[in-house]
């Protein structure tokens, strides 16, 4: 999976937000606000291919969390990203 083209992380007023620029994303009318951990994950997978496992591993590296919880949270976040339309397979 990859982040779709045109989706970018920007910082505005201390908030980490995802915007979708470019003509191909003209119908995307949302601005996504990321929390601390989502922001950390995004920064590390921005230009790369990744899976739920990649995200889980990143969580384990940065936070004190067991593998099972990390896997569950990572999957849940990834599902959310797919639902909103940030990610392409």
């Amino acid at each position: 999976m990859r982040i779709k083209k045109g989706f970018e992380l920007r910082e505005v007023c201390g908030e980490h937000i995802i915007v979708a620029y470019g003509r191909e994303n003209i119908d995307f009318n949302k601005v996504i606000s990321l929390n601390e951990s989502a922001n950390y994950l995004w920064k590390n997978i921005a230009d790369k291919d990744f899976t739920a496992e990649t995200l889980a591993d990143l969580l384990c590296q940065e936070y004190e969390v067991d593998a099972e919880t990390a896997a569950k949270d990572a999957k849940s976040l990834l599902d959310e990203w797919v639902k909103v339309g940030l990610v392409e397979v």
Partner: protein
């Protein structure tokens, strides 16, 4: 007293114009205003301006009534692109004072000196230089359709609206009763 009279006339107009109001709302897909999380206007437009400078065209929701009737508060979005030069008739995002942005139309141009005015403004104008402009509206994104800025019908309407400036305040009064 004057306010009360205005309110009464507006209410009366709303009643009289009901068939047009419901048709307008249906055509434009108006739903009740959704709760939205908003960033401070100037900070957000400053960021959008940066994106346009980076060559990343972007669509934004429009806040405010200053571009009525062509762009409506929180209902419409506009697709902004950076250009080398801008001309009379272009709806542009410009920095008219440090950190202060507006999305208004260029009504006069003398070299690099631009005069801007909101379509929904009757008297107020702003001035800026060409380099203060971040980008121009190339698509008007309504809930049901997207209208390119070079659409001939739209251009004709914008020109007509400009010509009707002497009676703009009365037209806007009627428009507010419909919307």
């Amino acid at each position: 007293m004057k306010k009360l009279v205005k309110r009464l006339i507006r209410a009366l107009l709303r009643v009289l114009l009901t068939p047009w109001r419901s048709r307008y709302r249906k055509r434009n897909g108006i739903v009740s205003n959704q709760l939205r999380h908003e960033l401070p206007n100037d900070a957000w437009l400053g960021e959008v301006s940066k994106m346009l400078d980076e060559g990343k065209p972007y669509a934004i929701y429009v806040k405010g009534y200053s571009m009525r009737p062509f762009i409506e508060h929180t209902r419409d979005r506009v697709f902004l692109e950076k250009r080398d030069t801008y001309d009379v008739g272009d709806a542009v995002l410009a920095q008219i004072a440090p950190g202060h942005y507006v999305l208004h139309r260029i009504i006069k141009r003398q070299g690099d000196n631009l005069t801007l005015q909101g379509d929904g403004n009757v008297r107020g104008v702003e001035t800026c230089m060409m380099q203060d402009v971040s980008g121009v509206v190339t698509q008007y994104i309504r809930p049901n359709r997207i209208i390119p800025a070079d659409d001939p019908k739209l251009i004709r309407r914008i020109r007509l609206w400009r010509k009707l400036r002497p009676i703009r305040r009365y037209l806007l009064f009627i428009y507010k009763a419909i919307v």
